[in-house]
Amino acid sequence: MGFIDHLIVNAEGNSVELNGAQILVQSLKDEGVEYIFGYPGGAVLHIYDAIFQQDDVKHILVRHEQGATHAADAYARATGKTGVVLVTSGPGATNAVTGIATAYMDSIPMVVISGQVPSPVIGSDAFQEVDMVGISRPCVKHNFLVKDVTKLAETIKKAFYVASTGRPGPVVVDVPKDITDPNIKVPYKYPRKVTMRSYNPAVEGHKGQIKKAVELLLSAQRPMIYSGGGVILGEASRELIELTRTLGYPITNTLMGLGAYPATDKQFIGMLGMHGTYEANMGMHESDVILAVGARFDDRVTGKLAEFCPYAKIIHIDVDPASISKTVKVDIPIVGQVKPVLTQMIEQIKESKKQPSKKALAAWWEQIDKWRSVQCLEYDRESPLIKPQYVIEQLYEVTKGDAYITSDVGQHQMYAAQYYHFDKPRRWINSGGLGTMGFGLPAAIGVKLAFPEADVACVTGEASIQMCIQELSTALQYKTPVKIINLNNRYMGMVRQWQEFSYESRYSHSYMDTLPDFVKLAEAYGHVGMLVENKADLRSALEEAFAMKDRTVFMDIITDRTENVYPMIESGKGHHDMKLRIAPGTPTDRELA
């Protein structure tokens, strides 16, 4: 219900005129938007007044615009729909930039509506004026400045179209205040479809290329499937699983691709890259044919480019032609959406008389199993301290591996990626490309709004959580009972780890000696705080926390402060040059003095 519904068409069926603010809100409704994440301010007051007078589109008031962008972004990651953000001009817009860049780097569909000062004063350094179109340009897929209220609905439609198609990404729509003037009314019509002559994203792959790719794949002796976030964005998990099982080949996922292939399946050999498994990285290094699906050969995946997969011929499927041969030259590029391309490949494989060599594949698996036997993710389970890996394993068991896990950035993020075995796509919500600390908590709120019945946990650290901790207040207001798993090692763990390895343990500013009492802090925000200091208490504490279905629980877990993430490919090294965990009992496992 709302004022707009009955205004839109009058009894004679003629369209009725709306003002710009109403057009904006009605466009969002017609686009099927459920939630807007935002924060009001001068330039968007007309819009907020229109929001107030309807209840179809629900507004979530965050405590900082960065939180709005991360919440909308995570909502998009978990649901596949486009996230929507509304911020005011000036500082509202600039505060949103980190979140926009986060979404951009991970290709997340998002529409950000930013208020702007009235058109006549643009360029005069007016109060709360920034050139948002200019500031956001390098970190958006596209942006618009609305200059004419009669084009507003069409612009919103275009924004959603561009954000959600092809390689998705954030789109900013900058709306000057005069455009939403309540006194200027124009006929409203939300276009069903828009076409743009300058924007035609690829869909199906080139048949000839697909045929060549299948031939190469079937002739492989040491094949490897390497899949990324594109499989999740392209809803192609089912096709990836079918292809992988049909071929019987080993598969590794990138950080962004976790969950696209079930982690508990025997063909899955773990994540690859800087903190990937020994078997995944060695497998890549020794492989002769690599099928890259919706992955972009990011530097954290490839390590030293000159030593990347020296024996492999590479097939690369990507919806974005610019991703192909950007860093790594590939042999068979296929530009197209992952889902139809994989479907075509599966058909081709079924039609083909050729079969993968059973003998070669058996020998290859034997080799992979040898690498697996290194057990690169083992850690000191006997330690009396709470090991962060142990926390994630316990979290996995308590949530039966079925929770939505958001994370911040650092060691805890890698532990979550390594030890929480994601079996489904869209369950692992993290800032992979930009690496934005502060992402986890607002992200958890966004996910919980989308899936109120599901368990949502934010795996974080005591440094990251403080970057958007104000959103605890949002969690209370909108009753989004998430569980915060704070791996508290009293260090910026990943910074400390690099300083240990590369700077002779000079821990420059990676330590905070004035941490808040997180239990009291959680309580001050109206939530439940729990302190876990003893390993023996961890399991029951986790069970207790997840049993509190209607409360946000902040679990401050005091972990081994010297633990490092292994394996590690140090920057500038190749896949075969991994640093593995030092055996238990060595000095790195002891508390620092």
Binding site: V133, G134, R137, P138, K141, H142, L145, V162, M196, R197, S198, Y199, D320, P321, A322, I324, S325, K326, K329
Partner: protein, 163 residues
């Protein structure tokens, strides 16, 4: 290698900065850039001269194509094409040097389009190489100003860049 990339782009505010921003953000170099509307006022045609190996040029064209405002583009270096640049040069003159400057300008098919007792303005079109050669041919100390438009170009024959 030097490439001339011709781009048809939506004639909208900010379109130029999207292209310029892409080049600076990704560290590509722009030697020259010319922009003007086409016969269809909703479209601008941009001619951009850049240098790079094949991999870089491939990325440049892909990244340009990825810009939502870019409708179409062509790398003129890939086929037979005509390249032209406009230059205007203001030179100091004296009784003694006037005839010589005029003679050199004639050789390069330049035209003198402004004359004062002390100066000439010479107008010249041609490939960028030819304009370089002219600037070298005249006495460096006589040059007051050189204004160049940057190269622009068009494909020979049927081939071309249009909707």
């Amino acid at each position: 290698m030097r490439h001339i990339i011709s781009i048809l782009i939506e004639n909208e505010a900010g379109a130029l900065s999207r292209v310029a921003g892409l080049f600076s953000a990704r560290g590509y170099n722009i030697e020259s850039l010319t922009v003007a509307p086409t016969e269809d006022s909703s479209l601008s045609r941009m001619t951009l001269v850049t240098r790079g190996n094949d991999d870089i040029i491939e990325q440049i064209t892909k990244q340009l194509n990825k810009l939502v405002d870019v409708v179409k583009l062509i790398d003129l270096a890939e086929s037979a094409h005509i390249e032209r640049e406009l230059m205007m040069v203001k030179v100091k003159t004296s009784e003694a040097t006037r005839a010589e400057i005029k003679r050199i300008a004639d050789i390069f098919r330049g035209r003198i389009i402004d004359v004062t007792p002390m100066t000439f303005v010479i107008e010249m079109t041609g490939t960028s190489d030819k304009l370089d050669a002219f600037v070298k041919a005249i006495d460096e100390t006589t040059i007051i100003e050189v204004v160049r438009s940057g190269a622009t170009g068009i494909c020979r024959g049927e081939k071309g860049l249009h909707l």
